[in-house]
Subunit: 211 residues, 3 copies
């Protein structure tokens, strides 16, 4: 197996665990867990492959079905304290984010897309699966949760495209970029780092006007 | 018309009725009914065709627009007792599930996909439209409703691929598989058959820890 | 730039503003605003391009990233009265609807699709982005809001295909069609024009039966 395939499968596994953990938190059954794991882990990559018009690997390489299966089984046997679930979910989701922004951007560069499109595709790959997971489970998407989420993925995809264009992308620099994205996302979550609100003039959401 | 096209159109009609019934239950208007019928009945097949990179039949063959139109009109004129709607919705949805897992798996086999990918595509075709229908109408997807839903579709897709590989798939065996999926899904709903929860150690969802 | 590209980019900008305005109303941050603007403005076109199997322009032409960026910045600096947001959202959404049903239908005609498929693709392009925007932000889609929404888009796509087939489509007739769709949609919203309910026999939604 190539390094790129291994990175991809590890990212798939991380997002799959995030899907199964969300299924556990929502009280879904084990089949729902497998399905949400599959959607979270394979959805972003299928969207990516459809956009660049290549065969969606998730459907053509049966290897990609192993991580969701493994995730559903692990969550079934290992999760017994519901309190830990939310933290684990953020950590695994951040791990997937770190790897997928790289995999998506690299695949785009290899298909000959221009740098801007490659960055965009990296971000889409990274945030797509988690978005599908949250929308289908009727959660506010992590993407809109308030802490920085897309920004670390954007940074990771940009660094990946820059490194690839300078011929400096390899397993070592790749792991450094993934770790950076992961740490940035987890720090943003822990510390509650927020970007400014969408409209400067508005107060916090749903706040009634002061009487 | 080939037998495969007829089976497909009947499946499209079943899912279209499920969409119009949900629209009725949600109090949508007749145009919303037509749109939800279209999404429920054509969404899974469009996803399937995009994945195997063929022209989405729903957009290229105008025949596919007849079932959603018919469903919206029938539901408009025939539904007058709101209580019946939920039961009818499950029955028509189960009928679509039974036919679509077959149609999707067969189309994948004919396109030369490997058996695992063909089963996966059958399940995706079968659950995709209903998932879109429920997400867009802001319902908990039937897929995560608690009773077995994806499992009958998985069984149907697996049997279809096995029969096709043994050259035993024909209208008779096809109808038997569809009936089996339909009966299994309806029994699971009636009897409340559940799979184990996603996490062994957790209790039912949203339960506060015992004080 | 061709007239078609300019029309498309203006439509993208209108839907992008609708996305950023919804983000402001939901209390999302400025990155969520950019993402919702991108999804609302580029989602329908990406779906359209995947269906007719051409490269999704949003990913291949960096020009398409300017409108969402501009929308997020404008909403950030200009919106200070939350009350105005809902009205502006409907107006910009209606503007996008008017342009996208034309752009989608024209692109389909140019790709050689039959007239019915071209109309369908026009409607899908027009309503797709707004549907994604609303589903992801956990709103009842404007599509099912009760006032006419898809019908003006259907009318616009039909007129566009008819004009294109009669060789009468040009910038002037295009602007007339877009204005017609816009006015019809805004009037339907202002006047509360409703289509009949999905089921003739049912009362308004969620109404308990009279005791």
């Amino acid at each position: 197996m190539s390094a790129a395939l291994i990175l991809d499968l590890v990212g798939v596994f991380f997002f799959a665990v995030s899907g199964s953990l969300l299924a556990a938190r929502k009280g879904f059954d084990i089949i729902g867990s497998l399905l949400l794991a599959s959607l979270a882990s394979l959805g972003g990559g299928v969207a990516r492959d459809l956009i660049i018009d290549v065969e969606p690997v998730a459907f053509y390489n049966p290897l990609y079905l192993a991580p969701p299966l493994l995730a559903a089984v692990l969550v079934y046997f290992l999760i017994s304290h519901i309190e830990r679930v939310s933290t684990l979910l953020v950590l695994f989701d951040a791990g997937g984010l770190g790897l997928f922004c790289i995999v998506g951007a690299l695949k785009a560069v290899n298909e000959g897309l221009n740098p801007v499109a490659a960055i965009l595709l990296g971000v889409t790959t990274a945030v797509g699966g988690g978005l599908l997971r949250d929308v289908v489970a009727n959660e506010v998407p992590a993407l809109f949760s308030g802490e920085l989420y897309a920004l670390p993925a954007f940074l990771g995809a940009t660094l990946t495209v820059a490194l690839a264009m300078l011929d400096l992308f390899n397993v070592v620099t790749g792991v450094v970029v993934a770790a950076l994205v992961f740490i940035l996302r987890v720090l943003a979550w822990k510390a509650g780092w927020h970007a400014p609100l969408a409209a400067r003039g508005t107060g916090p959401a749903e706040q009634p006007p002061a009487g």
